[in-house]
């Protein structure tokens, strides 16, 4: 390939900027991000998840999640066709390092990635005594850690076990849907590293987002629909045994 001097003059600074960004770990700014233009959720395709744990590792690195706590994790279900009410479920270290080899039997296996459901009617924000946890206009449930009392009432109120008290900061902590990346036009860390595309960030307010077509053509469910939390993490191929 022949590169002219003019092309080289353009490419070199571009490569320098790109290299700087890669090295700094900071994506380019997206100063025009307007919260009310978005309503974020996520699509998780159970049939595509291979339980590699990439998402869990990426989340822990990206968000400095303390050991033993999880903003996202992966569960492996082992379900008998005779009694789906008592599945065998494991999530060793949140599935961070993958899973042990499965037994060869006639039961079915599948993986279920979990994270905060960023509920539109979230029970956790309802109970916070000072409003330190809230739903932002773009549909992301966040915690103001400079304001949180650390009472853990929100941890009790979350039906999905997605919150914890940070062992050092002594405040509630949870998935932010990588908000710091969203505002810069990037996807979440977990979606970015998923090798099979089992996790797809979705903007429900964007008419061009493929989520709309997907929701129209697939049987999609949320976790614990009976809780009426307005969960925005949609699962394709969700088995009835999943809790």
């Amino acid at each position: 390939m022949k590169i002219s001097r003019r092309q080289m003059l353009i490419l070199l600074p571009a490569a320098a900027v790109a290299w700087e960004s890669v090295m700094a770990g900071t994506p380019e700014d997206a100063p025009n991000y307007k919260m009310t233009d978005h309503w974020w959720g996520m699509l998780i395709d159970i049939s595509k998840c291979i339980g590699c744990g990439n998402c869990v590792r990426a989340c822990q690195t990206e968000n400095d999640v303390p050991d033993g706590f999880f903003r996202t994790w992966v569960e492996r279900y082992h379900v008998s066709d005779e009694d789906m009410t008592e599945p065998e479920v494991i999530s060793p270290d949140g599935g961070k390092e993958g899973f042990p080899v499965a037994q060869q039997d006639d039961k079915k296996y599948f993986f279920v990635p979990k994270l905060c459901n960023h509920c539109a009617d979230s029970p956790c924000t309802q109970v916070c005594p000072v409003g330190a946890t809230f739903i932002s206009p773009d549909g992301v449930v966040l915690v103001d850690q400079k304001y949180c009392l650390g009472c853990a009432y929100c941890v009790q109120a979350c039906p999905y076990g997605c919150r914890y008290i940070h062992p050092e900061k002594k405040v509630a902590d949870k998935c932010t849907l990588c908000k710091h990346r969203l505002v810069k036009g990037l996807t979440t860390a977990c979606c970015e590293v998923c090798p099979t595309g089992a996790r797809q960030l979705a903007d429900l307010k964007d008419p061009n987002d493929p989520i709309h077509a997907f929701l129209k053509t697939h049987s999609v469910q949320v976790l614990k629909p009976q809780m009426a939390t307005g969960a925005k993490i949609f699962y394709n191929d969700l088995d009835g045994s999943v809790r």
């Binding site: 033993g68 706590f69 999880f70 994790w73 569960e75 009410t85 008592e86 599945p87 065998e88 479920v89 494991i90 999530s91 270290d93 949140g94 979990k114 029970p123 924000t125 309802q126 109970v127 916070c128 005594p129 000072v130 409003g131 304001y147 949180c148 009392l149 650390g150 009472c151 853990a152 009432y153 941890v155 009790q156 109120a157 979350c158 039906p159 999905y160 076990g161 997605c162 919150r163 914890y164 008290i165 900061k169 002594k170 405040v171 809780m227 809790r243």
Partner: protein, 392 residues
Amino acid sequence: MSGVEGFMYPNEIELQWSVLIVLYPFITGLVAGAFILASLERVFRVDAVKPTYRLALLTALSFLLVAPLPLQLHLGHPERSPEMYFTPHSTSAMAMFGYVYLWYLMAVLVLEIWLDYRREIVLLSQSSKGLVRWIYKLMTLGSNNISPRSLAIDDRVGWIVTLVGIPSAFLLHGYVGFIFGSIKANPWWSSPLMPVVFIFSAMVSGIAGVMLLYMAITKLRKQKIDIRCVDSIAMYLFYIFIIDFSLEMLDLVHRIYEADESFRSLNFMVHTQLYIPHILIQICLGTLTPLILLFLTQVVKFPEIVRKRIYAISGSLALIGIFAMRWNVVIGGQLFSKSFLGYTTYKMSLVTKEGLFVAIFLTLLPLVFLWILIKLLPPWPERNAHAPAAGD
């Protein structure tokens, strides 16, 4: 992972609410119950319980002063707790705590005690000497008028305050029950009956607590226990205990009969980890035994000495039972996974901020406050000080 059986969501393994959160409803329950007992005399004119009226008020105040401490110690950032007053979140049941607490403390208890003791405070501010004199002078709030007309107004206003205080006491403890009962994520807690059960169990613990305190203090003062008074208190304790037990059984039977998706998990928990604290301590030892004993005192004419002993045993068992109930609600509600597939364990630490020693200290602290309050505001008439010693 140690201490975990089956599958827990990974963030659920460590319990969030410790023994201090068990103490909190136990203490507020004693406050509410003691106040209800005091109101029996004041509003419902039950003269028999008059000897415990002032003691009940002082007991309620002593425990109310300690009530926020376990919460404060539990917070990750206790220095931020004033935010609950300044920027309360309108949809949060917990945010109302500060207001309900302040209302009950200042507008009900302190005001009622002040009105009831105003005459003594004024007289003591004139008769005592040194620092104590200044304390009493401060407590008069500059109001030294103890004319019959003035005292009659005090009495009338005090009656109104008590009248307002009864629903306030219900609010104080009903709200504590609501904090748990309104958590739909937790089927062990989520029940509209929870606030009602909390109110009646509060009345049981408060009445039993004041009855025991009255008997113990009277004995320590070498005075004669007013048997008519303790008979009446025991009768009220028995009837309220029946209502409390019925409500708890209604909740239990409803859960068993309905057997929703959480039933298998909760049933397993009650038959394993919670078997001792729930079935044996709360129901058998702390509820059925005192109920049977109290029932016997209602139908059999025991000698006075036997009745007193039965009341002492029943009251103590009732307190143990109500504490176990708080334990089973708070700790039991965190032992199972919200996936209904696993169980964790609670290991109480000894010397940490939320450990056993702090819990014991906080349980005894109200008794220290009560001792100070009794010294400052004696709840019994002065003439009793020279009465003959009790024979028992």
